[in-house]
């Protein structure tokens, strides 16, 4: 028996198949939890619930989804949300990263303290911000409700509907609740972007910055012509991952606005939830999930391309 075991251990097959056994559990898990559900969603998007199980309905789910007026509106809300959230996070995140990249004392303390929001759950962040503006008792309620600051008669962030749209049906300018949602999301995502950009800025050789300084470039020129081009690959990664988290993050909408007032903060991820579990139309929700997955997929492959070519790896 012992002999057999040693022979097996030393055989070519055992040695060659070793890596295979190492990755097998991972592959099986991913096939069940990620790959199979993805195909299941595709199947589901062509089905409709009937009294005796599922019924094939062709592309009806998609047609009905596109016919919903809330679908168009949701796309509008999602675009407004994404532009606001990604733009604000990038600008403020770069600013903080730039400050931290100056050789200053205590930068570790700043990073640690500034990073805390990122480890707090979306649901909790939503609630924490909601506590600030609950009617009557929130700390900022009075500030927003002040008629002098917000004419004509103050602002109730969670209940005020959005102003008349400027461009057809597109939901812009957004409702106060949407702006508040963007601020809350930005607050939580900032540390991540700050850290990412700081790491990128720190890889820029100091000689490059120094020599541009000697050549007479001022701070703004150094940022515009030296820093930004050099951290561009990281910037793109940040944009894509922020967009991904923005499209798919739903926790904050749940606890901060619940999609309201009305449908003013009903982004696609929340719409998926309402169609699926609110109206129990799983086929139609699957059609929407498929569309969102397609957007995700485009973004991911885009990121993969850029990180590979941009950093010169592989």
């Amino acid at each position: 028996m012992q002999k057999l075991l040693t022979r097996w251990k030393n055989s070519n097959w055992a040695r060659n198949s070793f890596p295979f056994w190492l990755i097998l559990p991972t592959i099986i898990t991913l096939l069940i939890v990620q790959v199979y559900p993805a195909f299941y969603t595709v199947w589901l998007s062509f089905q409709e619930r009937s009294p005796d199980g599922w019924e094939f309905v062709g592309t009806k789910n998609f047609e009905r989804l596109f016919a919903m007026s809330i679908f168009d509106e949701s796309i509008g809300h999602t675009i407004v949300y994404l532009v606001g959230y990604v733009g604000l996070t990038l600008i403020v995140g770069f600013f903080i990263a730039f400050l931290l990249s100056q050789k200053i004392k205590f930068s570790g303390v700043y990073i640690t303290l500034l990073f805390i929001p990122w480890v707090i759950a979306q649901i909790i962040v939503g609630l924490v911000f909601r506590l600030l503006i609950v009617p009557n008792y929130g700390l900022l309620t009075g500030f927003f409700g002040n008629p002098q600051l917000f004419p004509p008669d103050g602002l109730s962030v969670l209940t005020a509907v959005r102003p008349a749209p400027w461009f057809g049906d597109f939901p812009f300018p957004p409702s106060p609740a949407m702006i508040f949602l963007i601020i809350a999301s930005t607050w939580r995502a900032l540390p991540f972007v700050m850290l990412l950009l700081l790491a990128a800025i720190q890889t820029i050789p100091t000689q490059v910055i120094e020599s541009s300084r000697i050549d007479g470039a001022n701070a703004l020129q150094r940022i515009r012509y030296i820093m930004l081009p050099l951290i561009m690959p990281t910037l793109v990664v940040a944009i894509f991952s922020l967009t991904l988290s923005g499209i798919n993050g739903v926790g904050m909408v749940f606890s901060l606005t619940g999609g309201g007032p009305g449908t003013n903060t009903q982004v696609l991820s929340y719409l998926l939830y309402t169609i699926g579990w609110g109206q129990l139309k799983f086929g139609r929700a699957a059609a929407l999930a498929l569309l969102m997955a397609a957007i995700n997929w485009v973004l991911i492959t885009g990121t993969m391309r850029i990180t590979k070519t941009g950093t010169g790896e592989e």
Binding site: L22, I23, M292, W297, I300
Partner: protein, 318 residues
Amino acid sequence: MKNMSDKSFLSALARKRIGKFLTHFTLIIITIFALFPILTTLLISFKEQADITRNPPVIFPCDTETDDFDPSACRWVVQGYERVLAPKPSETSITGIEFTGNMVRTYLPNTILYATVASLLVVLLAGTSGYAFSRYKFRGNKAIMSGILAITGVPLLTNVLALYQMGVKIRKSALPFDDRFFIIFVYVGFFLPLSVWIAKGFFDAIPKELEEAALIDGCTPFGALMRVVMPLAAPGLGAVFLLTFVNVWNEFIAGYLLITKNENKTAMFGIYDFISVNLINLQVVAAVCILIALPIVVLFLFTRRTFLSAMVDGAVKG
């Protein structure tokens, strides 16, 4: 001449100092802004109902009729925490009190269980497969690795729909089905891809010669992995554990939708459930937020180096 150069030197130094001061000043302001919502929540959680429902609201419940702020008059109470924990005297417990709130009795233990088990499994799977991807050139290595990277970005949200239907189906069938196994399995599958990438990076940094020496000395490949490589990779795997733990702890939508039995639901669901009942009792909402966020914030503060390096690695690769 000498004087002149001294002067310009001084002014350059002074300018540098002013610049440093301004940088610190701005950073301090930003830090205060970043922590403001957390601090106000902390304050709210220790207020009493009468101070919560005041209009206009006060930041510190420390004012008296004569004075705007009198530290000796502060009315700090733990009412909010009491409502969450619902302590009752008990003869069986050592401390003499037993916490009967759903949050501490059911939801929080569930979250701790799911996060611990899922993170351990992720470490095990990401460790073994990350090692294989880092060390062995086998057919399809690159292709599978890219596939895993592509999966990294597939969000839980779009898969939850199918996973929910899968759960419904298994529940109807005769198969033994437990919400808890299902959700742990889902969490493992969901947070595994990124972890594989991070783990591979850590293994890449360990010199290959070490194991080759072990192999020559008569170690089996598995023995070399366990005795030589794993101890060296421990900090990296620790980072994977931490990141997964925090992610599972904070995850809401899958726990909310995929777990049917109330006794198996998670702390995030518990918080969401609290809003519907208690939104008027701000101190209770604030207390529950603090209670659930605090363990993770403390965990982060103690492990920040590992945590931050894993974050950057994961983000740049994933």
